[in-house]
Symmetry: C2
Subunit: 221 residues, 2 copies
DNA sequence: TTTTTGATTACGGTTTCCCGTAAGGTTGAT
DNA sequence: ATCAACCTTACGGGAAACCGTAATCAAAAA
């Protein structure tokens, strides 16, 4: 089993439980091996590397509450990138309240994480299974991920730009110029109208409010 | 200190940690004293009452993940109401990811809860202080609550109904009839237009999309 | 080069929304 | 009863959005 694991989790209650869970797996956790801030996590990883005793695995949350003392690294995503930059072979287990398969998949694809476990009813058991899988060099996709129906519409950068402008309160008539400024094509008013209409049709909704609501609910923008 | 405390929390990791925290306070937690579903919580409270050994305190989450096996009680709010209906003197500590003061205050006011502790960096210490306060018959307002700037606009049920209809894709022209069905006044088209316009003015936004986005972001609907 | 095809843009008619004004109602004070 | 103040509703002009069609353009095929 792993010898050296780092926990990055801001909620004290959860952090405590993670330590207990690792102890159950006979993984020793010292006072140095758990942190409440992303910046601290990166510092520990660097230190361990310099001491030739690098971490094998990091268990990290995705979202961290903001603090008055501004942190350089704001969330788990950025932490993973920064950590991998200095230690490419570090295993990563993401433990998050997020339970949408789309988000998890993007983490596997973009950051090549090793496991994703959502905080949910049986997360403790889930977590232990994930750690054992990673130790065997296998990726672990939690069965508790909510496999939402795949979005009927895939939002391009172009689409996101349009919705963002709508969200800012711009009128459609203003959009051609604004899109030209952003060097986005096509920028004709008709094309924009058609595109918006197409999105609304495929999503089966009828007004811009619903469109914005959908994008927010699915964290598209 | 309390002798008999019930934990209602669906996340296993958090549930475990809560048990540990109570043990630290010399409160005994048996296998009967923690549950993962609201319905189970109410059953336990009833049973304890019938056995003349009622719970003194319940620690409950607010939001519970939905399960295929439909539960009668869906969230912490409903659980607290149901519990107080059969045992009015039960102390209630809400432990939730929610950290907006407005929500917490409404719980104190409407459900007369005894403490609100947000899941956050120092939630374990926070929790213990809360329990000690409750034991001394004092209400506990966590210092970790994020005192967000009060919303410029207070949404009435009427306002929420309008925004909900917008979200459903209804046109303004359909609203008079729909509001009459809901017995909401005023139902004149002009009044609805004026109300929407007033809300948008006070929120300093310019279209319905932003309005819906605002309501979603602030969990108004 | 010419033709074809598909995408983009321009334009016009219709609907919906926005916003101001005015009319109708209700309530409470004089 | 009268009046004033306020709320609600009715209406209309103008702006924006919606939607179909036609014209334009660009790139690939003949």
């Amino acid at each position: 089993m792993f010898k050296k694991v780092l926990i990055a989790e801001d909620h004290e209650i959860v952090n405590l439980s993670l330590r207990n869970a690792l102890t159950d797996l006979n993984i020793m956790i010292t006072n140095q091996d758990y942190v409440f801030y992303c910046d601290d996590a990166l510092t520990r990883i660097e230190k361990a590397l310099n001491e030739d005793n690098p971490y094998e695995l990091i268990i990290t949350d995705l979202s961290f509450d903001e603090e008055p003392s501004q942190q350089k690294i704001a969330d788990g995503r950025a932490l993973i990138k920064a950590a991998r930059a200095i230690q490419p072979d570090l295993k990563v287990l993401v433990f998050s309240i997020e339970n949408r398969a789309l988000i998890a998949n993007s983490l596997f694809k973009e950051l090549n994480i090793d496991a994703f476990v959502p905080k949910a009813r049986h997360d403790a058991k889930d977590l232990k299974m994930a750690i054992e899988s990673i130790y065997k060099n296998k990726k672990y996709h939690s069965p508790n991920l909510r496999q939402k129906h795949v979005n009927a519409h895939i939002f391009t950068e172009y689409d996101k730009a349009i919705v963002s402008l709508l969200l800012e309160g711009k009128t459609q008539k203003e959009m051609p110029d604004l899109l030209k400024q952003k060097k986005l094509e096509p920028s004709g008013l008709s094309s924009i109208e058609k595109r918006i209409n197409h999105i609304k049709t495929t999503l089966n909704i009828s007004n811009n409010g619903q469109l914005i609501a959908h994008c927010i609910a699915n964290k598209i923008i």
